[in-house]
């Protein structure tokens, strides 16, 4: 059972790291601000989410597990809303007549 949980940690944390890689590559290589924003949100939501899911079996108690999930939800909430606001800002900047 323990070995199985460790394998799960390996897989999920590695997958999360891959999403951070993807987010960085997107942030560096995509041509304009809106597409870069798209890449960023993947790293935020999925990268961190998979790291959190991977670390869940390694926590010592139920409180720590709840805090881990809360961290993920908080980052998703603020990431999703801040990307809306940044996208709005990009749009306003590109169209000054508005």
């Amino acid at each position: 059972m323990n070995a199985l949980l460790n394998v799960w940690t390996w897989i999920a944390v590695s997958a999360g790291a891959i999403f951070f890689l993807a987010g960085t590559v997107g942030l560096l290589r995509f041509p304009d601000s809106l597409t870069r924003l798209h890449a960023l949100t993947k790293a935020d939501n999925l990268g961190l989410g998979l790291v959190v899911l991977g670390l869940l079996p390694q926590t010592s108690g139920i409180l720590d597990a709840v805090k881990l999930i809360a961290i993920w939800l908080l980052v998703m909430l603020s990431g999703a809303s801040i990307s809306q606001l940044i996208a709005h800002r990009v749009w306003m900047d590109s169209d000054p007549q508005q």
């Binding site: 390996w10 870069r36 961190l48 390694q58 881990l68 603020s78 990431g79």
Partner: protein
């Protein structure tokens, strides 16, 4: 397991460090803020991974604070942009 978690932390640090290139290059202010935002999520992941590796359960609280305040600087940035635009509008109408 400890080595794997630390290796993942190093990898994510290297990734967000590459993303910092956007702070240097820009071109727009939003791109710079986005790089800081990516570094914020990356730091949360690094804190969680290194905390799990060294067995310091209290590190989760550091990540919790980072998560609550993750959007704070970006929100201040968006808000400051709105205020600057409101201030500029009447001048543009007058011309």
């Amino acid at each position: 397991m400890v080595d794997f978690l630390l290796m993942a932390a190093c990898f994510i640090l290297a990734m967000v460090a590459l993303g910092l290139w956007r702070i240097l290059r820009g071109p727009a202010d939003v791109d710079r803020m986005m790089a800081a935002q990516l570094l914020g999520s990356g730091s949360i992941a690094i804190v969680l991974l290194s905390g799990a590796a060294t067995g310091q359960a209290m590190m989760i609280n550091v990540a919790l604070i980072l998560a609550v305040l993750a959007a704070f600087a970006s929100l201040a940035f968006v808000k400051a942009g709105d205020i600057a635009r409101q201030g500029k509008m009447p001048d543009e109408d007058a011309q």
